[in-house]
Amino acid sequence: MSTVMNTGFLPLELLRIIFALICAIVIVFGNAVVMGYLERKLAGRFQRRPGPMEVGWHGILQLAVDGVKLVGKQLIIPKQTDRVLYRLAPIISFAPAIMPMVVIPFAPKLQGRDFDIGLIFILAVVAINVLAILIAGWSSNNKYSLLGAMRSVAQNVAYEIPMLLTLLSVILVTGTFSLRGIVEAQSGGAWFIFFMPVAFLIFFAATLAETNRAPFDLPEAESELTAGFMTEFSGMGFSLFFMAEYTYMFIACSLTVILFLGGWSGPPLPYGEYTSALWFFAKVYALLLTMIWIRWTFPRVRFDQLLNFCWKYLVPFSLVHLLVTAVVLKL
């Protein structure tokens, strides 16, 4: 996995990429299982109940059983759906979620491939999810699904802007789009969260909206739109959306960690070039837990409030932030 092995032989390089992809898929599924369990268990604890307890020790095998159930379920395709698009939508949502894993630097020597434009690559790939949601909503031929899809598009387009603007502040400082470069720029504890906490908050809020998490989970607002764009999906169709959501959360939190929390940096560990991935995952899961915590605490915002919050607060603040960063750098 190290870049030292890159000797120019194509087969070796190809093998490396394939191996990285396999690892990426393992991480994606592993993350979905861990998150599924954590979310249910934590939601239980927040609500003064034990959560899953029946399957395995403290319900630890619950997700495996759920997985078997979802795979075994009939995939019901309602009449009058656009069948091709309906089948395609969960795949379009899930497949791009694997790709960013290849460029994420988990540790100095644990990275599939370091692109010069790694950050842009991730943002581009992740944006495909909006398309998948729109396709899902449209092809279901259900008004609730369509409303959910419309909300999703409006919301994602809106929140992409403050997210990119805060990214630019970081890029101005580091001068590179390479994820490894950004992490190395923060070495020695000089994390960007200490220099630009406002950018961190804006970015985190925007990622909540981008991943359709509460309190910004309007595309699937259960009490209004039954399940939004997922209404008509069952079995594996549903579970692919489900896994995609957790994966996008993981990617969003990874980005936050890389950009603001110093990536893999932390107290030195033996074999630090590999084991410091521990710090990376610790930070990512701390953020994910925060997301879960927020979800089970707050009510959902209304749609106009959501967009107002973005256009009236986040966008101006991030613009000002960008300006201030630029001025400070110039001085």
């Binding site: 609500q47 003064r48 409303l147 009490s223 209004e224 739109l225 039954t226 089970w296 009510p299």
Partner: protein
Amino acid sequence: MTTMAEKGEHRYILNMGPQHPSTHGVLRVILEMEGEYVMDPQPVLGYGHRMHEKMAESRPWPNFLPNAARMDYLSALIYNHGYVGVVERLAGIEATPRAEYIRVITSELNRLQSHLLWLGVLVLDLGAFTPIMYTFEDREKILDILEDVTGSRLTYCYMRVGGVVRDIDDKFVERTREYISWQRSRMPMYDKLVTGNIIFRKRIEKIGEFNPDMARRYGLTGPVLRGTGIPYDIRRAEPYSVYPEFDFEIPTETTGDCMAAYLVRVREIEQSLRILEQALDKLPAGPAMAKVPKKLKLPAGDACYAVESPRGELVYHLTGDGSDTPYRMKIRVPSFSNLSLLPELCRGMLLSDLCACMGSLDLVIPEIDR
């Protein structure tokens, strides 16, 4: 709010219910939509219609007792209270003082659990999952207390003409006192978790413009009415049972929005606790059941009995003809009138606000359908 939606060219019909998470039961609302704006919501009733009024006419009056609980499953004891009240009034029977106190105590416990369920469900409608689990925890305590004395947890058939079927004991009194102090200790938490939540406030403040004139036109009663500033509560306006003996307030708000209805209900929880406390202190000794003729015939004539259910004014109007079967019984349920203003109230609203409005009306659909 309606500016973009006045032309009506791009309207479409959205069918909400009868199985929809925020219609709470088998209510169906046909929404004429324009984008996300609801232009014309029309409720469709009758999915749970059982014709209780006909059942009342076709069987001797004691056989209707269990039916009373099955209209509004959240305030079954208050429905019990109204029914035995109207029979007692028509037949000229008086319940024993102890029975009246027990009726008030159990009714108020019933009201509390209804309000607690509503509190959780309203917040659930707005997208927060956690508070409902907290209110259920409180509610369980009430249900346990009531189960001990009535034998059931939801559809009680506890009150009888002349009294109640089982006397309460010291254990009941003690557990109720424990519950009162528990509930008091929980209210600050709800204040922080729900009332003080900025998203929650923004979602229901200035949503739903109830006003006294609209209330009169539609016959609105209950906490939503009190949210418009009218202190109208049957327990005060037409006192029944032993309510005049207790010192309690009728909470009101003046803004007339969903937030006002919310605040009124939350404050009513404290008032119910006060009534409970006083009733337990004053609880007289004596029998819990008066001597009532075994074969009681309903005399010719009619009588009304109005009680305050958690949702508003509940009226039983019983007409007897000298036999033991009622000639006619009309049941006026609060949610029926409260829901009928939905089309006027929610015109031009966002879909999310419609859910908030229906949540704060606290609808119980089996009660409307009867």
